[in-house]
């Protein structure tokens, strides 16, 4: 299990690095999917199979599909790849690089000062306990998230509503039906 954990962690880091450095948007997204999958394996080895499964279903399986969907429709070509590559010039890396190093430094100090690290091969955390936690101590956050999702649902329904004249459409449909007698029997 430990080997699996470290392998998955290395894959996750490497894939994430490629997400940043890849010039082709779709390839970058594919690396992001690989990264998410390896994070799922990391969850699994840490004893959270439920979270791992949800990570794959929700993030890799649904949200990233929508990302790929949108990027596919943008009709990216060789020019955009070249432009992307020009944006990835070394001097652009300086700012984010410094910030990243600071973050890693903070993380390293925090770990060195002996935070609890958790351990691989702990008892699996199953759906029952997750449900108990979510609807116990964290019920307020769950409800708030539900509000946000409901709001998003209403907005989506509003944006996607059909303004066409229903009566007019029925008339057209009836006319079409008359042209093909016996079509609907």
């Amino acid at each position: 299990m430990e080997i699996a954990f470290y392998l998955a962690a290395i894959v996750a880091v490497a894939a994430t690095a490629r997400v940043i450095s890849c010039a082709n948007a779709v390839h970058a997204l594919l690396y992001l999917i690989v990264s998410l999958l390896s994070v799922a394996i990391v969850f699994y080895t840490l004893g959270a199979p439920f979270a791992a499964a949800l990570e794959v279903i929700v993030y890799a399986g649904a949200i990233m599909v929508l990302f790929v969907f949108v990027i596919m429709m943008l009709n990216l070509n060789q020019e955009t790849v070249a432009r992307e590559r020009s944006w990835l010039a070394p001097r652009v890396w300086i700012g984010p690089g410094v910030l990243g190093v600071v973050l890693i430094g903070v993380l390293a100090v925090a770990l060195a000062s002996g935070g609890s690290m958790g351990n691989v091969d702990s008892t699996p955390l199953m759906a029952e306990r997750i449900g108990m936690t979510m609807f116990g101590p964290y019920v307020l956050i769950v409800e708030l998230a539900a509000f946000v999702l409901l709001g998003a649902l209403v907005v989506a329904a509003h944006l996607g509503r059909d303004d066409r004249d229903v009566a007019e459409e029925k008339r057209v449909a009836a006319a079409r039906g008359r042209r093909h007698p016996g079509g609907e029997q």
């Binding site: 779709v26 199979p49 279903i57 890799a60 929508l66 596919m72 429709m73 199953m126």
Partner: protein
């Protein structure tokens, strides 16, 4: 860390052997389905179907395989080569991975995962990438249209599939497929969960985009949809992947709603094969009998009919389970 005892080695060898045997059997069954489907379609269309190669034409599969192996494996120059090559492998991989958690009998089965159903759902949701990436990397209008249709169709129907399974999970109190089968010893899930069964089966058809929900590859409008540019063995992988999907959905229906290997007199494996075979034949019958809906009809059917039924089913099942407890 590396100090294996002989016991673990034997264990490991046995598990590896069992895994390979099961996966081989599944792939061979999927390949034979090509012949079974053509013969059954022949029966239902008042004709014979392939009956020349071998007894009853059963070697037609071998002939098809030889033909497809010797076809030119062509990658269009305008395609995104890496993605183009990976795409057909994904569908084979994810579908075969999903078979890992299917319990065929009390003893046969690759692994008993305590998140069995979620694993199946995760694999089927990863299967979307195969089609969507194939559509995109082909750099072809029809392929792209097919890929986009698939993305919308599969994401939508995954929702109903997951929701319909919640009722079964509630009744069994576990995500483990083996535990779900064992919980059906008294009564098959299809009786208390009939709406869930119907929704699962319809969503399953849409998930592996078989007729009548084969809009991603609708021949009349999209030539062949996402695999327009594919040929040779890469096309063969899509082809076998589709049949693997049929076997998978049939096995899952058997496991989740029809008591898996449970049944009187006959041994468990025979019961399982009979039940799964029945659903495989039903898949072919659906292809022979039904017509393809329009795209908006497909989506409206999913979101306006299947989703409310699935939600009501979950709510009622939950209420009953809580009341009984």
């Amino acid at each position: 860390m590396f100090g294996f005892s002989t016991d673990t080695l034997i264990d490991f060898a046995f598990t590896a052997f069992e895994t390979i045997a099961i996966l081989l059997a599944v792939v061979i069954a999927a390949a034979l389905l090509i012949w079974v489907e053509r013969r059954l379609l022949g029966v239902w269309q008042d004709r014979y179907g392939p009956n020349r190669v071998g007894p009853f034409g059963i070697l037609q599969v071998a002939a098809d395989m030889i033909k497809i192996f010797f076809k030119e494996d062509w990658i269009p120059p305008f395609a995104d080569k890496a993605v183009f090559v990976i795409a057909p492998a994904i569908i084979m991989f994810t579908t075969l991975m999903a078979f890992a958690v299917v319990p065929f009998t009390e003893t046969i089965g690759v692994v008993d995962l305590n998140i069995g159903i979620l694993f199946v759902l995760a694999m089927s949701s990863l299967g979307v990438y195969s089609v969507i990436l194939a559509g995109w990397s082909s750099d072809n209008k029809y392929a792209l249209l097919g890929g986009m249709r698939t993305a919308a169709q599969m994401i939508s129907y995954e929702v109903f599939m997951g929701l319909s399974l919640l009722g079964v999970v509630l009744l069994a109190g576990s995500f483990d497929l083996r535990a779900i089968v064992e919980s059906q010893a008294g009564m098959w899930n299809v009786i208390p969960q009939f709406p869930a069964f119907v929704i699962f089966f319809i969503a399953g058809i849409a998930e592996i985009h078989r007729a009548p929900f084969d809009l991603p590859e609708a021949e009349q409008e999209l030539t062949a949809g996402y695999h327009t540019e594919y040929s040779g063995m890469k096309f063969g992988m899509f082809f076998v992947g589709e049949y693997l999907g049929i076997v998978l959905i049939s096995c899952l229906t058997t496991v989740l709603f029809f008591g898996g290997w449970l049944g009187p007199i006959l041994p468990g494996f025979v019961w399982f094969a009979l039940k799964a075979g029945f659903f495989i034949c039903f898949f072919v019958l659906l292809r022979a009998a039904t017509v393809r809906p329009r795209y908006d009809q497909l989506m409206a059917f999913g979101w306006k009919i299947l989703l409310p039924i699935a939600l009501v089913n979950v709510a009622i099942t939950g209420a009953v389970v809580v009341a009984m407890a």
